[in-house]
C-alpha cells in the first residue's frame, strides 16, 4: 500500500484554474487530480472560486438538452420509497435476508447480527427521546416561570432531544441500508494494531459504505482515524474520518468517492482532526487487495 503514496510536483494557481474543469469531468491524470485535491484542502480562496465556477459550467452543460418529462410512475416510486424510509426510521424494523447466490455477499445471518448491533441503540435513543419529552413537558416546562435556571435547563433538554433524534435518524439510515440485497463485506485487518478489525458493509447499488471498527486504540488528542479508498493504480482518496469510544468501537457511513476508478484496497490511518489529504504512516488497518 505504501508505494501508492507518492509526492507530486506543484502547479501554479493559474494552471490549476484551467485544470479544474478537467478535474470535474474526471479526465485528469491521477497526479494532477491529487495536486488539485491537496491544494483545495489547503484552503486557497482563488482555486476554491475556480472550482465553484467550474462546477457551475459543468452543471450548465445538460441545459443544452431538451427536457424529458418522466412518467408519473417514476415520481410515484420516489414518493413511495421516501414513505418506506420514513416508516423504517420510525422504528418499523423487520427481518431481512439476502438470497443472493454471490459468494462475496453477506451471509443471511450477517445482516441480522448487524441489526442486533444497531437496533438496541436505536431503541434506546427512541426511549430517551420519549423520556426527554416527558421531562420537558411535565417537569421543566412549569419551572419556566421560576426563572432563568429553568429556561436554561429547558434549552439543554431540547438540545439533548434534538441530538437523540439525529442519532435515531442516523441509525435508521444504517438499518435501512442493511436491508439492501446488494451488500458486500470488505474486512480490514490490523496492520499496526494487530488486535483491531474493521468491516465495511458495501451497498454496491448505492455505493454506500457502512464502516464498523472494533478494537482500535482511541486516537491521541487532536487525532482521528481516517479511512482511505485506494483505487487500482491510483492515489488514495479520503473516504472520511471517524473516532472510537473507550471500547475501541467506531462507526461511520460514507459513500464510495465518484469517478475515482475501481476499488482495490481500503486502509485506515491516524490523522490530524479534520483529516488529511495524504495518508500518514503507519497504516493501522488494511484490506486485502481485490477487484470489485
Amino acid at each position: 500500500v505504501e508505494n501508492l503514496f507518492e509526492e507530486w510536483s506543484e502547479l501554479t494557481c493559474d494552471e490549476r484554474r484551467d485544470l479544474m474543469l478537467c478535474y470535474l469531468t474526471g479526465v485528469l491524470e491521477p497526479a494532477e487530480a491529487q495536486d488539485l485535491r491537496l491544494h483545495l484542502a489547503g484552503g486557497c480562496p482563488c482555486c476554491a472560486g475556480a472550482l465553484a465556477e467550474a462546477q457551475a459550467t459543468m452543471a450548465a452543460l445538460p441545459q443544452a438538452l431538451d427536457p424529458v418529462t418522466p412518467s408519473p410512475a417514476t415520481k410515484q416510486r420516489l414518493m413511495q420509497r421516501i414513505e418506506r424510509e420514513e416508516r423504517a426510521v420510525a422504528g418499523s424494523i423487520g427481518p431481512t435476508s439476502s438470497s443472493s447466490p454471490q459468494s462475496d455477499r453477506l451471509p443471511d445471518s450477517a445482516p441480522l447480527r448487524l441489526f442486533r448491533y444497531f437496533v438496541p441503540a436505536a431503541v434506546a435513543a427512541g426511549i430517551a427521546i420519549v423520556v426527554t419529552h416527558a421531562l420537558v413537558m411535565r417537569g421543566v416546562a412549569p419551572a419556566l416561570h421560576a426563572g432563568d435556571f429553568a429556561r436554561e435547563m429547558l434549552v439543554q433538554e431540547q438540545q439533548r432531544s434534538e441530538q437523540l433524534q439525529e442519532m435515531l435518524k442516523r441509525q435508521g439510515r444504517y438499518v435501512d441500508m442493511l436491508r439492501s440485497p446488494n451488500l458486500k463485506m470488505v474486512q480490514l485487518d490490523g496492520a499496526a494494531q494487530q488486535s483491531a478489525v474493521a468491516r465495511i458493509i458495501w451497498d454496491q447499488k448505492t455505493n454506500d459504505w457502512l464502516v464498523l471498527a472494533d478494537g482500535l486504540t482511541p486516537p491521541p488528542p487532536g487525532k482521528v482515524y481516517e479511512l482511505w479508498y485506494i483505487p487500482a493504480g491510483a492515489n488514495p482518496v479520503n473516504a472520511g474520518t471517524f473516532t472510537v469510544d473507550s471500547n475501541g468501537r467506531g462507526t461511520m457511513m460514507t459513500k464510495v468517492p465518484a469517478n475515482v476508478g475501481p476499488f482495490a484496497v481500503a486502509a485506515v490511518t491516524i490523522e490530524k482532526a479534520g483529516g488529511s489529504d495524504t495518508p500518514t504512516m503507519p497504516i493501522q488497518l488494511a484490506s486485502k487487495a481485490s477487484g470489485t
Binding site: T25, E53, T57, M58, A64, S71, K75, A258
Partner: protein, 195 residues
C-alpha cells in the same frame, strides 16, 4: 413557498427537505426532473435505467440532505453532479456486465423524443438558458465538442477518448482543455457568474 428567483426557491426547498418536508422534495422533483432525466437518458441511452437513476438521485437528496452544502454551489449544480455521477456509475456497471445499449447511440436521440417541461411558467427561462448553452457549445470546434461530450456524458478517460476518436492522447487533452476553457468563458455572464 415565497415567490423568489428560481435559485432562491431551490435553496429554500433544500432547507425544507433537510427538515423532512415531503412537499419540498416533490416540488424540487417537479422543477428539475425533466432536466435531470434528459441528462440521465443522454448518458445511459435507456429510458428505464434513466428513470431508475432519477429516482435514486432524488432519494439521495432526501435521505442525505445534510450532504448539500449551500456554500459550495447551487442546488441545481448539486443535482446535476449527482445525476451525472450516478448515471456514469450505472453505465460502467452495465458495461462490466456486458449489457448492450438498448437505445440508439445517436447523440441527438434524447432531443428527438424529448417532451416539453410540464411547467409552462419556467419554460421561457429554461428556453433562454438552453439557447445560451447551445450557442456556447456551437462556438467550439467539432473535435473539441465531441471530446467534451465523450468526457462529460460517457465518463471516458483521456486515453479512452483518444482511442474512440482515433487521435493522439496529447491532441485529445488539448481538445478537452481548450474546449472547456472556451465553454467556461462563453457561459460566464457579465457579472462573472456562470449561467
Amino acid at each position: 413557498m415565497s415567490q423568489g428567483s428560481p435559485q432562491t426557491d431551490d435553496f429554500a426547498l433544500m432547507s425544507a427537505i433537510a427538515v423532512g418536508d415531503r412537499g419540498a422534495i416533490s416540488a424540487l422533483y417537479d422543477r428539475h426532473a425533466p432536466l435531470l432525466l434528459a441528462l440521465c437518458r443522454r448518458i445511459l441511452r435507456d429510458q428505464a435505467d434513466a428513470e431508475d437513476v432519477l429516482t435514486d438521485v432524488f432519494f439521495e437528496v432526501w435521505s442525505r440532505a445534510d450532504r448539500f452544502d449551500p456554500s459550495r454551489g447551487s442546488p441545481v449544480t448539486y443535482l446535476v453532479t449527482l445525476a451525472r455521477s450516478r448515471s456514469i456509475d450505472r453505465r460502467r456497471a452495465r458495461a462490466s456486465r456486458g449489457a448492450s445499449n438498448t437505445v440508439s447511440a445517436d447523440a441527438t436521440d434524447a432531443a428527438a423524443i424529448a417532451s416539453p417541461s410540464p411547467n409552462p411558467s419556467q419554460s421561457t427561462e429554461i428556453d433562454e438558458q438552453r439557447g445560451i448553452v447551445r450557442a456556447a457549445l456551437a462556438c467550439l470546434e467539432p473535435q473539441q465538442r465531441e471530446a467534451i461530450e465523450c468526457s462529460f456524458y460517457e465518463g471516458l478517460s483521456h486515453s479512452e477518448i483518444a482511442e474512440r476518436l482515433g487521435k493522439p492522447l496529447g491532441t485529445v487533452k488539448t481538445y478537452i482543455r481548450q474546449g472547456l476553457i472556451r465553454l467556461r468563458d462563453r457561459l460566464r455572464t457579465p457579472s462573472g457568474e456562470s449561467v
